[in-house]
Subunit: 137 residues, 2 copies
Amino acid sequence: MTTSDGLPEKLDRDECLRLIAPGGIGRVGFDDGAGPSVLPVNYVVAGDTVVFRTSFGGRISTGVTTVVRGAEARVAFEVDAIDAERHAGWSVLLRGPAHHLSAAEIEALPDVRPWAGGERESYVSLTPVEVSGRRVG
Amino acid sequence: MTTSDGLPEKLDRDECLRLIAPGGIGRVGFDDGAGPSVLPVNYVVAGDTVVFRTSFGGRISTGVTTVVRGAEARVAFEVDAIDAERHAGWSVLLRGPAHHLSAAEIEALPDVRPWAGGERESYVSLTPVEVSGRRVG
């Protein structure tokens, strides 16, 4: 739903968290030292955090892994459901610090299915400090 | 298709450009000064560039607009088609400098439909310097 002036409707934090709760595919944004990068990942919501594993392997996944091993890793995580034909949908953006999960933390997770081969042990947890969202159409 | 070792298949530049050619929804990654951000946008391919307009309004769109007005704006642009159930799909990542289009450049564009209200005149063009992609499943 758009507002009466045709602008996107701003979603509150609770609505944003409700929309992303089912998990699925999201896109993580990070800086690998050569500038911004965006990578699709498979994610689940675990308590107050979003947990994802890098799914598309190779240099890109290595990038986010390396970045998140840094002391001050800050990432963005975007989830959306957009119908390009109807020009309608929603988008949620989370931002905050991220860290690699320990083996014990991974054991405690809900199901995060590996599906792209390789790096199956590499899970990243994002604690959202900023939560924002928009709905259009 | 995955490779015989189960890792994602790397796509070459031509294949990446072919996959994104139809246009549609992509996600732009940028740094707004407070860290990485990711925003869904409606895009078209115009010659050797990708042209998009910010679709979800408000503070986030203002972020990318402000960033791209900078002298050295560098952005990432990701397009994917992923079937979360089948764990299959592809992802393409473009990286390079971006700039706002002039009125004359906008006139020469193929159809880039506005659909989220507001900021309809704000178009950004990305010239991809790096093109990479992966296919899984």
